[in-house]
């Protein structure tokens, strides 16, 4: 595959990444606002934060652009390092944010009331939290 074709293909994934971020932030802030307003029932999706992994694509684009402008070897070295560190960071965040959010939910006074039907292909689960007693 030529670099030009690969570039067009990556553009498609950039668009997908933007869509993923939109969903991620929308769902995240929905849960945050539900916590703030003490909603009776909150369904928290722990698999949502895996969408963070899509951020490797905009990063690849930035890496490409910066590396093509600055043609020094040291820069390439640092960019490779940045790519891998970013991936690991996203993976850690994808697991750490749900953990923190669930701790916050419990601290706010919510009770864990089991989970909805588990995902079959995706990671994570949809946990149900009730402000009062579980029904």
């Amino acid at each position: 595959m030529s670099p030009k074709t690969a570039n067009y293909g990556l553009l498609l994934f950039d668009a997908l990444a933007l869509l993923g971020f939109y969903i991620l932030f929308q769902e995240h802030f929905l849960v945050v606002s539900q916590i703030d307003s003490h909603s009776e029932r909150i369904i928290f999706d722990t698999g949502l934060y895996y969408l963070l992994l899509f951020s490797v694509f905009p990063l690849v684009r930035i890496v490409q652009m910066v590396a093509l402008i600055a043609k020094t070897k040291e820069f390439h070295w640092n960019l490779d390092l940045l790519f891998i560190v970013w991936f690991i960071l996203c993976l850690v965040l994808a697991n750490a944010i749900p953990y923190k959010m669930q701790k916050d939910l419990i601290a706010t006074g919510y009770q864990y009331c089991g989970r909805m039907e588990s995902y079959r292909v995706a990671r994570g689960s949809r946990n149900i939290y009730q402000f009062s007693e579980c029904k």
Binding site: A6, Q64, L79, F83, I84, R120
Partner: protein
């Protein structure tokens, strides 16, 4: 050793612990742990790919570079850096189809093989999970099992295709494509994230439910067909009987008119 101690030793050697669990309790325990088992099943394939990526990173370092070039009509993977410092790839140039290269998910063929392996493993584990669940639960139906397995295979297939495409795009990109581990890492990232999107699409569109319903309808169709096939000998017998009656009547009528 005293005879008592000998006897104790012999008894301990033949000791077996048998745990008998009540069926209802077992089903309840399965219902509780099902989610965890499913999560574990979903992590197997990405975990194996991650192990390969870690091995690659250990061998090449974070900045491991490669170039794909064609010589004499054959694609070669040329590895940059010092081969003496590496453990797995001790050479500088490998054929793209070299088993070591393919096994370690280096280059386009390697990524394809890795994702293909992940797809097969995921399908086997996923199907195993559903079949076990089908046998355990009394209320589970065959249509439900078929619908879920079909929809899961489609989802795993789509996310595998997305992962391969990503790996190939990143591997062929201008700057990052030179990195040994980057295409595999990008493929893992997409494989992990695509699953969630596919689940959401399924949830909103109701693909699995539609599949289960379709299997149910197909099941009714099959039942009717089987009943019809079973009825064929009876139908044939009655038709033959009717024909015989008609023939006998005809002969009798002809004879009556003759006399």
């Amino acid at each position: 050793m005293t005879p008592k101690q000998e006897l104790m030793k012999e008894l301990k050697a033949n000791e077996y612990n048998v745990h008998i669990i009540e069926w209802d309790g077992f089903v309840k325990e399965w219902e509780n742990k099902k989610g965890i088992v499913k999560t574990g099943v979903n992590y197997v394939s990405p975990a194996m790919d991650s192990i390969t990526a870690v091995k690659l990173l250990r061998d090449f370092g974070i900045t491991g570079k490669l170039v794909i070039k064609e010589y004499g009509g054959k694609a070669y993977i040329i590895l940059k850096g010092y081969p003496g410092c590496r453990r797995i790839f001790r050479g500088t140039r490998y054929l793209e189809t070299n088993p070591k290269v393919v096994r370690m998910a280096v280059g386009p063929k390697g990524i394809l093989k890795s994702v293909k392996g992940g797809f097969v493993l995921s399908v086997v584990l996923c199907t195993g999970f559903h079949v076990f669940d089908y046998f355990i639960r009394d209320e589970a139906t065959l249509f439900e099992l078929l619908g879920r397995v079909t929809s899961d295979i489609i989802k795993i297939g789509v996310s595998s295709i997305a992962a391969v495409t990503t790996g190939l795009f990143v591997g062929s990109a201008a700057v990052i494509g030179g990195s040994v581990a980057a295409p595999l890492i990008a493929a893992i990232a997409v494989g992990l994230a695509a699953g969630w999107i596919l689940e959401k699409i399924d949830e909103n569109v109701g693909a699995t439910k539609a599949l289960i319903e379709a299997y149910k309808e197909l099941g009714i169709g099959i039942d009717e067909t089987v009943e019809t096939i079973k009825d064929i000998p009876n139908m044939l017998t009655s038709e033959v009987y009717r024909y015989e009656r008609w023939l006998i009547n005809r002969v009798l009528n002809q004879n009556i008119f003759q006399y």
